[in-house]
C-alpha cells in the first residue's frame, strides 16, 4: 500500500516542480518603484532640458555599454553601485539622477535606483524602457 502511494506521489511531484522552482531569470521589472519617478524617452529629453544638472547613470556592465549608450551618461554597473561610488558622481543627496540599463527585461537600473534610494538620494528618476526604447525610437546614441 505504501509503495502505491509512492508511485502516485512521484508523478505529482514532477508535475508540481515548475511551480515550486524559482522563477525564470529574466523577469519584467515592476512598472514603478515607490519614491522614484519613472520616465520614458520623451519625458527624459524634456527633463534634461528642464534640469541641465541631471546626472545620467548607465547601470549596465561595460560589455553591454559597448553596444551603444546615451551621450553624457556615466557608466556605473549595478554590481558596483553603493553609497560610496554614488557619492563620487553625485554632488549631494539633492542632485537629480537618472538610472537606465538595457530595458524592461534588465533589472540592473531598478536595483541601482533602490540602492540610491537607500543611500538617501531624493531626486531619483528611472528610465524604465532603457537603451532598447531609446534606440528603437531613433534617438541618438554613441558607441565606443
Amino acid at each position: 500500500m505504501r509503495l502505491y502511494r509512492l508511485w502516485f506521489a512521484i508523478p505529482l511531484l514532477c508535475l508540481a516542480w515548475p511551480a515550486t522552482a524559482s522563477p525564470p531569470g529574466k523577469m519584467t521589472v515592476p512598472a514603478a518603484i515607490p519614491g522614484v519617478t519613472t520616465l520614458n524617452a520623451e519625458s527624459l529629453i524634456e527633463l534634461v532640458e528642464r534640469l541641465p544638472g541631471l546626472v545620467l547613470i548607465d547601470s549596465r556592465v561595460p560589455a553591454d555599454r559597448r553596444q551603444g549608450y546615451i551621450q553624457g551618461s556615466v557608466s556605473l554597473p549595478d554590481t558596483e553601485t553603493a553609497c560610496a561610488t554614488l557619492g563620487d558622481v553625485l554632488a549631494s543627496p539633492n542632485t537629480p539622477v537618472m538610472f537606465y540599463c538595457n530595458g524592461v527585461k534588465c533589472g540592473r537600473s531598478a536595483i541601482a535606483v533602490k540602492i540610491a534610494k537607500g543611500c538617501g538620494y531624493k531626486k531619483l528618476y528611472w528610465f524604465r524602457g532603457g537603451f532598447e526604447e531609446w534606440k528603437q525610437k531613433g534617438y541618438p546614441f554613441l558607441q565606443q
Binding site: 529629453i45 545620467l56 546615451i70 551621450q71 553624457g72 531613433g138 534617438y139 541618438p140 558607441q143
Partner: protein, 509 residues
C-alpha cells in the same frame, strides 16, 4: 437577290462549323490571356520582391549613414573643435571622412557632409554640392525646413529623405550632442551604390537610371540585345517624399523555363479544346441530324411522294419525334396521309392506297409469293338508286355496301373503294377459280339482300372481275386491266362474276 437556297444539312453543318471555329477562337484567346496574366503576375511578384529588397537596402544605407554621423561625434577631436567653435577645422575633419572607413570600406558612397547649428545655420561642410557651395539648402529640398519645424523630443531624432538632383541622393540629418542638442550633421550619400548590390541579392541583372533617363549603373551580365525572349524585364520606380521619382530600377528575370511551361500549357489547352470542339461538334451534328434533319428529310420525301405511285411510300414507320414542332408536323402529316389514302365516304382505303397494296403484293419479294386473286367489283343498278333517291341516298347505299363487303372479307383480305360504285379486293393466297368463285358468290349474296335507305328500300347487284397473280399477269397494271375487263365481261353477260383470261385481256386492250 437570287441565290441558290441551301439545304438544312449544309446549314446545320455551317452552324456546327461556326460553333467549332468560335470554340477554337475562344480557346486561343483563353490561352493568350492565361499567358499574359501569368507573365503579368510574375512581373508583379518580382516588382514586389524588388520593392522589399530596395526597402531593405535603403534601411541598411540609413543605418550606415547614421553610424557615420555617430562615429564622427564620438571623435574627441570633433567634440573639442565643436566646443571651441573652430568650424574651419571641423570642415577639414568632415573632409577627412571621405577617405576613412565608411567610404574606403565601401559602406557608403559619400556625397556631402555638413554641420549645422541647432537652428540649422550652416557651420561647416565637405564634399560636392550640386546646388553650389554657398547654398544653405540641404541636398534634398525641404528636409532642413521640416527638421527645423520639429519641437520637443522629436528634435533629437534623425530624419532622412530621398531625392533626385537629378542624380539620386539620400540625405540624413543626425543630431549632435545627445540629450543636450548642439547641432546636426547632414550625411548625403548616393543610394544607387547600395542598390547596385541588389543584382547579387536577387541574382538578376540590373540597370539603374536617373530621373532624366541617363544610365547610372548596368550589370556586367546585362544582355546586349533587349529582345531576349527568355528574360522578363521588370521595372521598379523608387520614389522619395511626396511620391517624386528618384530612380528607376530595371531587372531582368530569366523566365525561359516559365515561358516554355506557358507555351506547353497553351499547346495543351489548344489540344484539349480542339478535341473537345471536335467531339462536341460531332455530337451536335449527330443530334441535329437525328432530331431534325432526318425527320424533316423523311417527311419531305413522304410529302413529295404523293402523286407518284411509289410502292415503298408507306412501308416505313415514321420515327418518334423529339422536337415538339416536328411532332406537330408529324401529326399534320399523319392526318394528310390518312386523308390521301382513305376514301372519306366509306373509310375504306382509296384507289391510291389500293394501288400501293397491289404494287406491294406484286413486288415479288416476300410473303406474298403464294400469289393472290384480284377482284374488281362494280355495282349494278347504283345509278338508278342515285337518280331516284338522290346523291345522299347513293352515298348511304355505298356506305352500307362497304360495310357488307367488309363483313364478308377474311382477315388478311384487302378491300378498297376505287371510286364511284367500284370496289377492289385482294385475296392473298387464292389462286384457284373455285375458291375465288366461292368468295365472289358470297360477296354477291351479301349484296343481294335489300338495303334500307331511310324509309326506302332498294336493291343492287354486283359484277365481279377476277384475275390471278401471277398466273394471268405479273404486273399490277396488267392485272388490274385484266380484272377490269373480266368485270365488264361479267356485267355484259350478267353472270355475276367472270375470270380474266388472255382473251378478255385482248378484248380489254
Amino acid at each position: 437577290m437570287l441565290r441558290q437556297p441551301i439545304t438544312l444539312r449544309v446549314l446545320s453543318g455551317l452552324v456546327v462549323l461556326v460553333m467549332g471555329v468560335l470554340g477554337m477562337s475562344l480557346a486561343l484567346v483563353t490561352g493568350e490571356i492565361h499567358h499574359r496574366l501569368t507573365l503579368d503576375n510574375q512581373r508583379q511578384g518580382l516588382s514586389e520582391l524588388i520593392g522589399l529588397a530596395v526597402g531593405d537596402a535603403l534601411e541598411r544605407l540609413e543605418e550606415k549613414s547614421r553610424a557615420l554621423g555617430l562615429v564622427l561625434q564620438s571623435d574627441p577631436t570633433f567634440d573639442r573643435l565643436l566646443k571651441a567653435g573652430d568650424f574651419p577645422a571641423i570642415g577639414a575633419l568632415l573632409d577627412d571622412q571621405f577617405h576613412q572607413y565608411f567610404v574606403t570600406a565601401g559602406e557608403i558612397r559619400l556625397v556631402q557632409l555638413r554641420l549645422f547649428s541647432p537652428e540649422f545655420k550652416l557651420l561647416a561642410k565637405a564634399g560636392k554640392n550640386a546646388r553650389g557651395s554657398s547654398s544653405p539648402q540641404a541636398a534634398c529640398p525641404g528636409l532642413l525646413e521640416s527638421a527645423a519645424q520639429r519641437r520637443g523630443p522629436q528634435r533629437l531624432q534623425s530624419l532622412s529623405t530621398l531625392c533626385a538632383d537629378p542624380l539620386p541622393l539620400h540625405s540624413l540629418i543626425v543630431p549632435v550632442g545627445g540629450l543636450s542638442l548642439r547641432g546636426y550633421i547632414e550625411v548625403v550619400v548616393d543610394p544607387s551604390h547600395k542598390l547596385e548590390k541588389l543584382e547579387k541579392t536577387l541574382g538578376m541583372p540590373l540597370q539603374l537610371r536617373s530621373v532624366t533617363g541617363s544610365e547610372l549603373y548596368r550589370s556586367a551580365s546585362w544582355p546586349a540585345a533587349q529582345s531576349d525572349r527568355g528574360a522578363l524585364s521588370v521595372d521598379y520606380v523608387l520614389r522619395g517624399d511626396g511620391g517624386r521619382e528618384v530612380l528607376q530600377l530595371t531587372m531582368l528575370s530569366d523566365v525561359s523555363a516559365l515561358r516554355d511551361k506557358l507555351a506547353e500549357t497553351r499547346r495543351n489547352i489548344l489540344l484539349v479544346a480542339t478535341l473537345l470542339t471536335l467531339v462536341v461538334a460531332l455530337l451536335l451534328y449527330r443530334v441535329l441530324r437525328r432530331t431534325m434533319l432526318e425527320p424533316i428529310t423523311d417527311l419531305l420525301q413522304r410529302l413529295q411522294s404523293y402523286g407518284q405511285y411509289d410502292g415503298a411510300r408507306r412501308k416505313d414507320t415514321v420515327p418518334a419525334r423529339a422536337i415538339r414542332e416536328l411532332h406537330a408536323l408529324q401529326d399534320v402529316y399523319d392526318t394528310l396521309d390518312h386523308l390521301a389514302c382513305t376514301d372519306p365516304l366509306t373509310q375504306l382505303p382509296n384507289r391510291a392506297q389500293f394501288r400501293d397494296f397491289l404494287e406491294c403484293h406484286t413486288a415479288g419479294d416476300h410473303r406474298h409469293n403464294g400469289g393472290f386473286a384480284l377482284l374488281i367489283m362494280d355495282l349494278n343498278g347504283f345509278k338508278q338508286v342515285n337518280d331516284r333517291f338522290g346523291h345522299q341516298a347513293g352515298d348511304a347505299l355505298l356506305q352500307q355496301v362497304a360495310a357488307r363487303l367488309a363483313s364478308t372479307k377474311r382477315r388478311g383480305d384487302i378491300l378498297a373503294r376505287l371510286g364511284g360504285d367500284e370496289f377492289g379486293m385482294i385475296l392473298p393466297g387464292v389462286r384457284e377459280r373455285e375458291t375465288a368463285g366461292i368468295v365472289a358468290d358470297k360477296l354477291a349474296r351479301g349484296l343481294s339482300e335489300p338495303f334500307e335507305i331511310g324509309s326506302e328500300t332498294c336493291q343492287v347487284g354486283v359484277s365481279i372481275g377476277i384475275a390471278f397473280y401471277p398466273d394471268i399477269a405479273a404486273t399490277s397494271d396488267k392485272l388490274t386491266r385484266l380484272a377490269d375487263a373480266a368485270m365488264y365481261e361479267a356485267k355484259r353477260s350478267r353472270s355475276g362474276y367472270a375470270f380474266a383470261n388472255l382473251d378478255t385481256a385482248s378484248a380489254a386492250s
